[in-house]
């Protein structure tokens, strides 16, 4: 399959999945966009009531949405090949397309959230600079590649280990508290920060907050670290898929 055909197939899978999910209706499409926007407003209202520090509630919302994408994206990606096994047992379909297509829905939710967040910041007089928006887009993209990398490996491993999704559920529950979502990383002694940063969502959440809420840019070294993390996760994922993928039809 040529690369343009692969992209065409990925697009068709994403489009038809979206259409099926929302019954092909315009109201369904609007609802899919409104849902993350509505959740954003609900969370902001509740946090405004609970927390007096305006920066904290924004940081909390940024952390929660990015985490939600990570948790939902990896969950969908992990079962992607198993859910579509009837395809690659009868046709030669590039497996990565099935994995990427499965992550599309959480990705759309995160994209809508990102737009709503920027609009909200602008509305309350804290409009982020173009550079900050660019950095945030880069972090979202990094998170997407990390989710894809994890899913490439996990989806093919799930064909062999059918309780991997339950194990991953437990990991993500623990991971929610390992990532500085509900607490600032500053309360952790600095000598332990490195270990927190090994958990991929941590640098992305921290850097996004720094760029969008605090209005600063993380250091160049921090970006290099993030890039290395993305490349390692994506590379490992691709390696596992390349190794186990050819026998995927026999594992189902």
């Amino acid at each position: 399959m040529t690369s343009s055909n692969s992209i065409g197939l990925a697009w068709t899978l994403i489009r038809t999945d979206f259409k099926t999910r929302f019954h092909g209706t315009f109201s369904g499409f609007i609802w899919s966009l409104l849902k993350p926007a509505a959740l954003f407003l609900v969370l902001m209202s509740v946090f405004s009531f609970l927390f007096k520090d305006p920066a904290y509630k924004l940081q909390l919302v940024v952390g929660l949405f990015l985490w939600d994408f990570f948790a939902e994206g990896t969950k969908c990606g992990l079962t992607a090949l198993h859910a579509k096994s009837f395809l690659f047992r009868k046709l030669r379909v590039p497996l990565w397309i099935l994995v990427v297509a499965a992550i599309a829905n959480p990705f759309i939710t995160m994209t809508v959230f990102s737009v709503v967040l920027v609009l909200f910041l602008t509305a309350i007089g804290q409009a982020p600079s173009l550079a900050a928006i660019g950095l945030f887009a880069f972090y979202c993209l990094s998170m997407t590649f990390i989710v894809i990398g994890f899913s490439l490996a996990a989806s093919v491993l799930f064909l062999k280990y059918r309780d991997l999704n339950q194990v991953w559920d437990m990991v993500t529950q623990a991971g929610f508290f390992l990532a500085p979502i509900i607490y600032p990383l500053g309360i952790v002694p600095e000598k332990f920060h490195f270990y927190f940063y090994v958990w991929p969502p941590t640098p992305i959440i921290e850097f996004s907050r720094t760029a969008l809420v605090s209005g600063h840019a993380p250091s160049l070294l921090a970006h290099v670290y993030l890039l290395v993390e993305v490349v390692v996760v994506l590379g490992l994922g691709a390696m596992v898929l390349k190794r186990m993928g050819p026998r995927a039809a026999e594992l189902v």
Partner: protein
């Protein structure tokens, strides 16, 4: 003589059947990651086959003799344990009709979905959408959800997409007999057109008539080995004779 488009050289394939199934991490941990006792189920044993440009080759044999495994190996869905498979052309596998249909979508979306999976580009699907619906006689029902189609209508659509997606080599597994007499005739006609256009085909069938009428030569498999090879009509007759118990 031309270079074969597909070359199957001494290919063997076996599946490993574990005596003690372990499907979870928990089961592997509980067993201390010790190797599982398992049995080897040989399916194909040193099979060699060549497909040349424009040829139609049939594969016959009793259930479980390895026909479908051979096709899946040729299509790249399985990988051989031993031997090599060299493909020098694009292959279109039709191993099952309607694989990947989404019943919640209409015919047009399903054509895009299945056409894409069979290797057609979006442009190619757009260009051939009308002829696909025309061939399947489903133009008036193009926007009807597939869940409301009869099985015959769905099969016609599947055929229409599959025949449109044909690349250099067409691989068919027991799918040349579907629909009413009229549709069957049109499918056979389409198959002849594909052959006349110079495509190469590999056809698996239990039906001696199909192998005899649509293939130039054929092989017969028995317990994973090729036991007969030659002109399609002769192999079909040998297959039939093999089925009749000796008196």
């Amino acid at each position: 003589m031309t270079t074969p488009l597909v070359e199957v050289d001494s290919v063997s394939k076996a599946f490993w059947i574990p005596d003690e199934p372990r499907h979870t991490i928990r089961e592997h941990v509980m067993a201390g990651f010790a190797p599982r006792p398992r049995r080897r189920l040989p399916v194909l044993d040193s099979v060699s086959l060549q497909l040349r440009q424009g040829e139609a080759v049939g594969v016959m044999g009793a259930n479980g003799c390895g026909k479908s495994t051979l096709l899946k190996l040729v299509c790249g869905i399985y990988i051989p344990d031993e031997g090599t498979i060299t493909t020098r052309a694009a292959i279109t596998p039709i191993l099952d009709l309607g694989v990947g249909w989404n019943p919640e979508l209409d015919a047009v979306d399903n054509v895009y979905l299945i056409g894409g999976m069979m290797g057609l580009s979006l442009m190619e699907i757009s260009r051939s959408l009308d002829s696909i619906l025309e061939f399947a006689e489903l133009r008036p029902y193009a926007r009807m959800h597939l869940k409301n189609y009869s099985s015959g209508m769905a099969a016609r659509l599947a055929y229409a997409v599959a025949f449109q997606a044909v690349r250099d080599v067409l691989v068919l597994d027991e799918v040349l007999a579907v629909g009413d007499a009229g549709f069957k005739k049109r499918c056979e006609q389409r198959y002849r057109e594909i052959r006349a256009a110079g495509h190469t085909t590999l056809v698996v069938s239990h039906e001696p008539y199909i192998i005899g009428a649509f293939c130039d030569r054929a092989v017969m498999l028995q317990q994973g080995r090729i036991v007969a090879e030659g002109p399609a009509a002769d192999v079909a007759a040998a297959y039939l004779a093999n089925l009749v118990p000796a008196t």
